[in-house]
């Protein structure tokens, strides 16, 4: 089982409606459908991934978040809106958070922590934009156009009156370490946030 699924699953109530933004091949939704009997929808633009979703029996809607946003969905239409590893690749993450809070009762967001010590070390030592296994792109062709640290994200939530209900910090393998728990902004590579307004 994918490690992030294990973190997310307990936060999703059975028999609820879930929207997964950038759902990939539908693994998360297929898992939640089986374990929690959710009515799930995924949004995706990658053609192969869309076909994979359909093969899995996962509802998938081809929709470009940067072009169309989420305006075709009604207020509080979903119980949970999930966005895994996509916030940093979106044109306006702040507006996206607002929209997630409009259409969903709660949101689940994961993103890579740019404050992770390896990123800091890379920049300090080499004087170049950090690259790593999780952030393998060069600065000019990266899809990750809005990288942030945990502190940045939490400040934005506070500014927007978004409550952070849970935060699970993990390393690249989605394992929890003592260091990451003590100094997350320095030692955790990813965080999974549960938020609501």
């Amino acid at each position: 089982m994918r490690a992030d699924l294990r973190v997310i699953e307990p936060w999703v109530e059975p028999d609820t409606q879930v929207l997964d933004l950038g759902c990939g091949d539908g693994t998360l939704l297929a898992y939640l459908q089986e374990k929690k009997r959710v009515l799930g929808y995924g949004l995706e633009i990658d053609q192969k991934q869309i076909t994979s979703c359909i093969q899995k029996g996962v509802n998938v809607v081809e929709q470009d978040l940067d072009k169309k946003g989420l305006r075709n969905f009604a207020d509080k239409q979903f119980d949970t809106v999930i966005m895994t590893q996509a916030l940093q690749a979106i044109k306006r993450p702040d507006a996206m958070l607002d929209e997630m809070m409009r259409i969903g009762r709660q949101g689940i967001v994961t993103f890579p922590n740019f404050g992770y010590w390896r990123c800091r070390h890379y920049l300090l030592w080499y004087g170049k934009m950090p690259m790593s296994k999780t952030l393998p792109h060069t600065w000019y062709n990266t899809p990750n156009i809005h990288l942030c640290t945990f502190k940045d994200f939490e400040a934005l939530c506070q500014q927007k009156n978004i409550k952070i209900l849970n935060r699970t910090v993990v390393d690249a393998n989605f394992e929890q370490s003592r260091f990451a728990l003590m100094w997350p902004n320095l030692f955790a590579e990813f965080a999974v946030y549960r938020i609501s307004r």
Partner: protein, 390 residues
């Protein structure tokens, strides 16, 4: 709209030689317009085998100019396959190794089912313009009766493009307990003013042809070919995209010099004339008028105060909605309206917008990604059927 079928020779993945069948219905059919058809015939074809549970049946619904001959050939030397042979057959998206496929000619058509060019048993004359205006709902009603006769209680899927997609949608609303999946391709929740405007020009082209005689041309042994040809030419432009026409014809001319006259000079003119002429020889003008009206009247949300979301409230099937990027007749936005309403109503739906240069006609052309999506969804349905069977 289903125009011509692709020319090819019978191949391994064909359903082979097909014989259409006709069923007579004695039970009167009350139509939405208030009139009644006391009796009628429906002509249809089937491909594949119905399983023991009768759970693998798929209904194919045709578009404006289509008919019951969706796949296969009528004779060994038949050069043209059915209009959707690219999608129906062994190993194709609608896999006849998995499904029992039914395809009929709708009421009012001119392919052998009761319509304007058939005899009204009450008068002994051809119906002509007196054939009542039917609607998509009436068609679905007649298709449900056909299903009864074929011992099909529930369709594994109802599938159609364009006007055919409207029938699949209507099935899901009229008979939610008799349909498991609806596949709605290049369709729309209703026609726009522009769509209706093009239909009106087509109708005027036909009705203003001096050979039309108010629709009573059969007895006078004339045919309004000029009007029908013109209607088809207009329609054809709306089925193609600017891009597709540009690619196919550009500004190519038959000769390098201008003739400084009004005869056909550009290749696109020649093509339209050829298509129009050929169509006017095989299709019935009264049916063409009727089909355009069926399109105009389609608006399932109207019964629910204009709310599509409410229209979908009682449906219980899964949907696959597919649109094509250059389709300006029923654009991707129209399909997205359907999808948004389905999601708001909490229905299972998947949606793909296929990049294609072929405009509205793209639903008839087996492009790679279109086939991948269509096959994936139908494959999933086949799995469901097989799970329930065992």
């Amino acid at each position: 709209m289903s125009r011509t079928s692709v020319e090819q020779s019978p191949a391994e993945n064909s359903v082979g030689i097909i014989k259409p069948k006709t069923i007579h219905f004695d039970q009167a059919l009350e139509l939405v317009c208030g009139k009644t058809l006391n009796q009628y015939d429906l002509i249809y074809e089937t491909y594949g085998e119905l399983n023991a549970e009768h759970s693998n049946a798929v209904l194919i619904c045709h578009a404006l100019s289509g008919d019951h001959h969706a796949a296969g050939y009528y004779a060994e030397d038949d050069r043209k396959a059915g209009w959707w042979d690219s999608c129906i057959g062994p190993g194709k998206p609608v896999d006849t190794n998995q499904f029992f496929v039914v395809s009929l000619n709708n009421l009012g058509g001119c392919g052998g089912s009761t319509g304007p060019n058939t005899t009204n048993p009450e008068t002994g004359n051809l119906y002509g313009p007196d054939f009542p205006i039917v609607t998509v709902k009436d068609w679905v009603e007649s298709q449900a009766r056909l299903a009864d006769k074929l011992n099909i209680q529930t369709w594994a899927a109802v599938v159609g493009g364009s006007l055919g997609g409207m029938q699949a949608l209507t099935w899901s609303l009229s008979y939610p307990d008799r349909i498991k999946h609806a596949v709605v391709i290049a369709s729309t929740p209703k026609l726009t003013a522009q769509n209706i405007a093009f239909n009106e020009i087509s109708r005027k082209a036909i009705t203003s042809d001096p050979e039309f005689h108010g629709g009573h041309y059969y007895n006078l042994s004339t045919v309004p070919t000029k009007g029908l040809m013109l209607a088809r030419m207009i329609g054809h432009i709306t089925y193609l995209s600017d891009e597709a026409m540009g690619e196919k014809f550009g500004r190519e001319r038959k000769s390098s010099e201008f003739n400084f006259g009004y005869d056909v000079e550009f290749e696109v003119e020649s093509y339209l004339n050829y298509q129009g002429k050929r169509f006017s020889k095989t299709f019935d003008a009264n049916t063409y008028l009727l089909m355009t009206r069926v399109l105009d009247y389609f608006d399932p949300a109207a019964d629910f105060g204009g709310s599509l979301e409410q229209a979908f409230e009682k449906s219980s099937c899964g949907y696959l909605v597919v649109s094509f990027s250059t389709d300006w007749r029923f654009s991707p936005e129209r399909s997205e309206q359907l999808v948004s309403a389905m999601v708001k109503a909490g229905k299972s739906v998947s949606y793909a917008e296929i990049d294609s240069q072929y405009g509205h006609d793209a639903f008839l052309i087996p492009t790679e990604r279109y086939m991948a999506i269509f096959s994936a969804y139908m494959g999933r349905i086949a799995q469901e059927v097989n799970v329930n069977e065992s």
